[in-house]
Every structure is written in C-alpha cells, then in structure tokens.
C-alpha cells in the first residue's frame, strides 16, 4: 500500500467509526449503520488483503444509504456529514487503488474508463446530498434531481430554444470557418498580405469579439442572423491563424521534393500542404465548435425573439428559476460535446496518420 492509500484507509475507517458512534446516539438509519460497520471493518486490510472492489462497494452502498437517509432530518446532524466524508474517502481509495492496479498491469487497461466515471458520479452524488441535506438555497445551486425533474417537464421549451440557437451556431460556424480558410489561402499566395494581415489577425483573435453582439443586432435584426454574424466573427480568426500555421507545417524537404517534380502551386497545395495542414485545421474546427456555441448563446443575451437558449437563460435567471437555467445548460453541454465529438471522430478518420492520433495520448 502506498502512503496515500494508507492515510486514506485509516481516515476512512476512523470516520466510519465516528459516524457509527455519534449516529447510534442520534437516530441513525439502518442502512447507514450497516455502512458504518462495513467501513469500520475495512481495517482488516492491515492484516489480510482486501480487494479494491470492496472499497468500491462500500462507497456505493454508502452513497445509496446517504440518499436514503436524506429525509430523516430537516437539518442534517454532524454524523450525517461524517458519513458523507467517509463515503467520499472510500470512493477515493477505490479509484486510487484501481489506478495503481492498472499501472501495475494487475487489471486490464479497459477498466481505466471506470475512474473518470466514478469521479463524475461521486461529484454528482455529493452535489445532490449537499444541496438537499444542507438546504442550499435553490436560487444558488439546485440539486441534480430537481434539475432533472425540470428538464423532463420542459422538453418542448428546451427543444424550441435549441433549434433557434443552433440555426445561428451551424450557419455561423460554416460561414466563419470557410471564410477563414479561404482568406488563409489568399494570405498564403501573397507574402505581402501575410506580413500585413497576419499580425492584425493574431491581435484581433485575442480581443473580446463577443462584444460586437449588440452591433450585430443593430445591423442584422433581432433574429438568428445577427447571432450567426457574431459566430462568424468569432470563428474566423482561429480558423485563419491555424490554417496559415498548418500550411507552413510541411517541412522544406517535402517542398523541395515537389519542386523537383516541377509541380504547380495548386498541385503542391492539394497533394502536400493541405493534407499536412489537416491536424491544424481540425484543431481550429474543434476550438470553433465551442466558440460557436458560446457566441450564439451570449449574443442572445443582447436581444432575441422570445426563443433561444441565451434568451431563456437570461430571462429565467432574472426570474430566479435556476433549475430551468441549469436544464438549458445541461442541454447546451450535451449539444456542445456532441458537436465537438463529431468533429473529433472526423478528425480521427482524416488525420489517421498523425502521431498524436496513431499512438500517443490525445
């Protein structure tokens, strides 16, 4: 056992014991008693090997017991929170041991996916328990269960908002990325433009472009075209800068090779420089997928017809319906991840030859 594992194991057992002691005096529920006892018994690991799956099982059982015991009191007593701490410690211990086991090849690599999943679930669970148990004001942070309830009850609204916003996202993304790409090729053909336009482009890409949203609303109206315009402005520069970098990525040896074949500019571009630039271009596309979504949503803060994700967020925030806001954000997160994921999958197929896709960790 490593030092960290030892500390965690002792702490977990101790806190479980404490929970049990205080709880038995203060009206603890049966499942939590079982959890406390199980936690205390894990000290056996100092005398005989205890499988890491036991730690995981104790943590999982403790989670269920805590959720079950939320209704017992209005104000949760100290031992309740100690139980939460113990549960967290067991989960941590489980993850720590699993990571070590995978590193030592005692467990298959594929199990590695369990670790971030367990971590995510633990966060979610702790969120639920803390917000409900500590009576956190719903306006500050609603419990996940509440958000889920609101989400499932508001599907029509959420869908309408999603469609409205995504019109802007997709149109702006397509237009902005194409424009960036075309200008990059133009800049490549003209060394003068490269020296004159690129520094300005680099400069502008660091600026808060999202600020042009009110101006776009003024020029293009309230509906989604103005939001698409903001997205175009936001996605143009990363695409331009990355494509130019990518076009310069092919090394001089390969370009000399094309010269020995007396290949024309366009032949060299299509056969050598564009494929070599693909990793950079996809990097920009991935960055832009996030920027597009952010741009469309924040642009809607500045005025939009009564539908759209940004609109919904800003108005519901004003009405303090935070659970609906979180529901919108959950939808946005899923949509954003899906968008990013699709691009990443295409990247894998197109740039299969690049070392980062082939072997190294992404």
């Amino acid at each position: 056992m490593s030092r960290l594992q030892r500390i965690l194991a002792v702490a977990a057992a101790l806190v479980s014991a404490l929970t049990l002691l205080l709880g038995l005096a203060g009206g603890i529920s049966v499942p939590l008693v079982i959890f406390g006892v199980a936690g205390l018994l894990t000290v056996a690991r100092f005398f005989t090997p205890v499988s890491l799956w036991i730690d995981g099982a104790v943590a999982a059982f403790g989670a269920w017991a805590l959720l079950d015991g939320l209704e017992l009191f209005d104000v949760e007593p100290l031992w309740f929170w100690l139980a939460l701490v113990a549960c967290w410690l067991f989960a941590w211990l489980f993850v720590e041991r699993l990571a070590r086991a995978i590193r030592a090849k005692a467990m298959p690599d594929a199990l590695g996916i369990v670790i971030p999943v367990v971590f995510g679930l633990s966060l979610l669970f702790a969120w639920e328990v803390v917000t409900r148990g500590a009576n956190v004001p719903q306006v500050l942070l609603p419990a996940p269960s509440m958000i889920w309830e609101r989400l499932t009850a508001s599907v029509p609204t959420l869908t309408a908002d999603f469609v409205q916003t995504f019109k802007a996202v997709l149109a702006g993304f397509a237009l902005g990325c194409s424009a960036g790409f075309v200008v990059a090729i133009l800049v490549d053909r003209s060394p003068f433009l490269k020296r004159g336009l690129l520094p300005i482009g680099n400069f502008v890409s660091a600026l808060p472009i999202i600020g042009i949203a009110p101006i776009m609303v003024m020029w293009f109206g309230f509906d989604w075209p103005s939001k698409a315009a903001v997205v175009v402005a936001m996605t143009f520069f990363p695409m331009l800068v990355n494509t130019v970098a990518g076009l310069n990525a092919s090394s001089s040896i390969e370009r000399d090779l094309m010269r020995t074949y007396a290949a024309s500019y366009w032949e060299t571009l299509f056969k050598l420089r564009l494929p070599a630039a693909a990793p950079f271009i996809f990097n920009a596309l991935k960055i832009n997928s996030t920027l597009a979504l952010i741009g469309a949503i924040v642009a809607e803060f500045f005025g939009t017809p009564i539908v759209g994700m940004g609109f919904r967020i800003s108005t519901e925030v004003g009405k303090l319906n935070i659970d609906l806001v979180w529901a919108e954000i959950a939808v946005a997160a899923v949509a954003g991840s899906a968008f990013y994921g699709v691009i990443a999958l295409i990247e894998r197929a197109v740039t299969f030859w690049h070392p980062s896709i082939r072997g190294g960790r992404t």
Binding site: I253, D256, T260, Y261, A262, K271, P275, A276, F352, W353
Partner: protein, 260 residues
C-alpha cells in the same frame, strides 16, 4: 568511346549572403559528369557537396560560372523532369500508402501507366508486398528504399542522391549499398551521390570527387580503377580498395578537411 556529358559545370560559384557575412559555399568548380557514371562527392560539412547537388537540381541558383544539365539550364532540366532526387530523409507523405507515395511523381507528371511503373520500381528496391503499408509501419531502411523507388518510377536518366543512407546503421547501409549497385547495373542511369563515408564512396563509384570547405571547392577528381561490374562487399578488404581509400583520405587532408 563517345562520352556524353550529362552535367557540365565551368567555374561554378555560389556565395550565400547570411546575417554573419558572406559564406562561399562553392568556388570555381569545374566538373563533368558523363552518362552512365556513378560519381560520389565526398567531404566534410560545409564543403559544398550538397550545395552542388542542389544547384544541379535547380533548388539553388549559382552566383557565378555556368552549369548545364542534359545540355540545358538546370531550370529547364527541372521543368523537363530530367532527374530524380533522393533526400537525406525519406520525405514520404504519411497519409499515403507506399504504392501511392511511389506514384506521387507519376500523378504530377501525368503518366498513364502508373500502376505498372510502381510495381517495377518496388521490385527494383525489393519492397514488393509492402504496397499497402503506411510509411510509419516500415523501418528507416525500408522507408529510404521506398524513397529511392519513387525516384526511379519516372523516366529520368539522372539520379541525384544526397546522403540517402546517412541516418541508417552500418549493417543496413552495407546491404543497401550493394542493392544500389545492382540497381545501377540494371537501369543504367547516371548517379550523382553525396556522402561523407570514405568506404561508401570508394565502394560505389566509378569516379570520386573530393571536396573541401572554406571555401567549398574540388580538391581531387579520382577515376576509380576498381572493376565496373559486380562488386561484392568483400572487395572492401582488397589492397586496391584500400589504396584508393588512402588516396581519398590524402585528398581530404590536403584540403584541410581534418582541421577545425
């Protein structure tokens, strides 16, 4: 015997202007490379051997003197696709399989019988069976062979090779050297070969050009007395070989190649 000159340089000079002043890469080079010859250029770094090769290939432009390739200027020769160039690194495109890599010049130059040519080129370098592999799946030696196959695939009588085996270990290098000689016998091309290995230069060539740095110039041109036909690797222990190597070494020493 009627010798046709493939490359003819007279008083060739190339001076680079750098931030630290002028660098005379080539100075007063007078040299002829004749059809069917295997000419090695040997010398330390900075002696101008790679630069000379690049001038032939129109990858650099001379600042003085003249040079003709196949009777025309290097620029015309390049546009006419008169030579194949093999670089120090394989320079294969990683997103193409080996056969598509070898076919790259054929696509650009518009050859219609590309499949047959690719097959023949890969046979010449003993890479049959590896057509559908990607470059990273091949060892360094095999990648370099693919690069040579690519240079052989199209009709160019002149082959320019810039230290193609420099990055490989000696065992692979020996093997590729004897393969290269067999290939040269089979195709009858004219080969200009840059190296900084004395045994390699002596083993491969019919003519050895010894060069020295500061300024880059030719110190000796040696016609090899070794037989033109089959040269087994064992020839490297014969007295004639060793005498030739000594002569090359003397040439290098005379040009102060061994001094800092």
């Amino acid at each position: 015997m009627h010798l046709t000159s493939v490359v003819s340089a007279k008083g060739l000079g190339l001076t680079f202007k750098t931030g630290d002043g002028d660098v005379v890469a080539l100075s007063d080079v007078n040299l002829d490379i004749n059809r069917g010859e295997f000419v090695s250029f040997i010398g330390p770094s900075g002696c101008g051997k790679t630069t000379f090769l690049r001038v032939i290939a129109d990858l650099e432009q001379p600042t003085s003197g003249t040079i003709t390739v196949n009777g025309t200027s290097p620029a015309d020769a390049r546009v006419n696709r008169s030579y194949g160039y093999v670089f120090q690194a394989p320079a294969l495109l990683p997103w193409r399989t080996i056969d598509r890599n070898v076919a790259l010049p054929l696509e650009i130059m518009g050859y219609s019988d590309s499949a047959a040519r690719v097959k023949k080129a890969l046979e010449l370098v003993n890479l049959t069976g590896f057509e559908k592999k990607f470059p990273w799946q091949l060892s360094g030696g095999m990648q370099q062979r693919a690069s040579i196959a690519r240079a052989l695939a199209f009709d160019a009588d002149l082959l320019l090779m810039d230290e193609p085996f420099g990055a490989l270990d000696e065992i692979v290098r020996d093997h590729l050297n004897s393969e290269l000689l067999k290939l040269w016998a089979a195709t009858g091309k004219t080969i200009a070969f840059v190296t900084h290995s004395i045994p390699e230069a002596v083993y491969l060539s019919t003519k050895i050009v010894v060069m020295s740095p500061r300024p880059g110039r030719v110190t000796d041109v040696i016609d090899s007395p070794l037989p033109r036909g089959e040269r087994p690797l064992e020839i490297r222990e014969t007295p004639e070989f060793l005498a030739l190597a000594a002569r090359v070494r003397d040439g290098l020493r005379a040009g102060h190649s061994y001094e800092e």
